[in-house]
Amino acid sequence: MRRVALAERPDWRAKAADCGFGFHTIDDAPYWDESAYYAFTLREIEQDIEAPTEELHAMAMDMVERVVGSEQHMQQLAIPEPHRDWIAQSWRERQPHLYGRMDFAYDGTGPAKLYELNYDTPTSLFEAAFFQWQWLEDQLARNQLPAGSDQFNSIQESLVEAFSVIARRIARPFHFSAVRDSTEDQGTIAYLRDCAQQAGIECGTLAIEDIGISEDGRFTDLDDQVIGCLFKLYPLEDMFREAFGQHLPRSGIQLIEPPWKAVLSNKGILPLLWDAHRGHPNLLPAEFDNGGELPRGWVRKPLHSREGANIVMHLADGQQVHTEGPYDGACIRQTCQPLTSFDGNYPLIGSWVVGDRACGIGIREDQSPVTQDSARFVPHAIVEQARSVLIA
């Protein structure tokens, strides 16, 4: 794994405009950054990222079965009591899921270490699945990358395939929904809707704020049609506690991601996985936080923090790093696995799972060891080293 400087495509901004990638620059700060890329070997991708992702995904899915059958685990994950049966039922029915992203600390030397699962509202999808892919094709065509370079990224193909597999299990009308004023989230649902339409699924979009409730407790769109299935790029745990949340279990609405994802988008899954698979090379030791002093070498994360918010790191050298944010409530602890610096940048590997398949990565790097929403997305390529090319 190397970080390689490379000249930008001169026309990438125009290309971004062409495909509706409106959030390549956020609040005047660059988000899409192709002034460099990360080069991996095929072995690094397949053995160190793809295989562990599939294995961890299977372990996580097994853990859902255990958690929904245990009041104690539901309690540990702070899943609200009124929603527990509904969540468990959604798992028993195996209500279809679409995607998730695992975040790994990895630098090409040891095993990738799982930071967390983003299994409910993962983003950075469009840039990983589409714009990164286009970057590789363009740079190959411009001879800016070694011939035969590839990319671990069949994300779009997998999304379209996933939608076509679950098409018949998606209730209609089917709407994609996100916060109205979030450019980034709106971009993500526009892309997912595009993939669904490529799979032949009729669907619309709806701002999360526009969802209505009828007197008999069903959710409606702006035409007063009862929503069959809602893809919501909005955290399940927030839906649970907001005004309409109490109506969810009896409303008959189908959600994607389904309610059982509340178990996996919860950092409490990390200590449970560690307990069940102690010593697994891709897991970091983790435990539920007892509120006591955080020892050196540990990180504290709220069960529901996103975008690296509200994290406390007590580094091995005694230095403490805090990030701001809106989250509170119960926490977990995880041993601190600092990201490796590549020329002062700290890359975090987002490994995508679509359906149950590991199908690609996207890398976000930040100038601080905690990846936050100031991170930049940097593309990657699979580049075989000269020696293996000769052997081949």
Binding site: G20, E93, F152, M239, E242, R306
Partner: protein
């Protein structure tokens, strides 16, 4: 190759699209709670009767199965389950068929011969479901995606909205993806 063979966009792209829509052969789908309701809608008592009989059979062969009544009632509601026997005379519990689903291909406003039917069950949350037919698993999924029951979307569902904005209060301008 570890990347998508191709990646195109339909709606997001500003490039011209080629989209073909197929409107000439529509299908008519209905969810009926009785043969009479079906006839009233379709004027086809023969097909409605056959669809009902076929659905009743399929309720036994493809409907949900439980070892005991309690487990069945947990999913399908109190007193909504009945004891059944399979072809080898083993007994099990399953939900009562509360309706049936009929779909026919239409040509020029007339039903083409042949139909699809399925039993429909009303779950404890009030939703209608029918058994999934084969072929919906595989691909990127490890086999669980297509098993079990699927929702029925045949009923045109309208409801008067009494309020909105019950979701989204935790929102920030940056959104919620992670």
């Amino acid at each position: 190759m570890k990347r998508s063979r191709t990646a195109a966009l339909l709606l997001m792209s500003t490039a011209p699209l080629l989209l073909t829509a197929c409107d000439s052969n529509k299908s008519r789908e209905g969810l009926y709670t009785s043969v009479e309701a079906c006839v009233a809608q379709t004027n086809d008592s023969n097909t409605c009767g056959q669809a009902f009989a076929k659905a009743e059979q399929e309720a036994v062969t493809s409907g949900p199965r439980f070892d005991n009544r309690q487990a069945c009632e947990a999913d399908w509601g109190e007193e909504k389950c009945t004891e059944r026997k399979d072809s080898s005379n083993h007994s099990f519990f399953g939900p009562l068929m509360t309706g049936f689903f009929l779909s026919q291909m239409m040509r020029n406003g007339n039903a083409v011969s042949g139909f699809n039917s399925a039993p429909a069950f009303r779950d404890s949350r009030g939703g209608w479901q029918r058994p999934a037919t084969g072929g919906a698993s595989g691909g990127v999924y490890r086999g669980t995606a297509g098993t079990g029951m699927v929702p029925i979307n045949a009923t045109p569902n309208r409801a008067v909205t009494s309020s909105r904005s019950g979701f989204g209060k935790s929102s920030s301008s940056r959104g919620f993806g992670s």
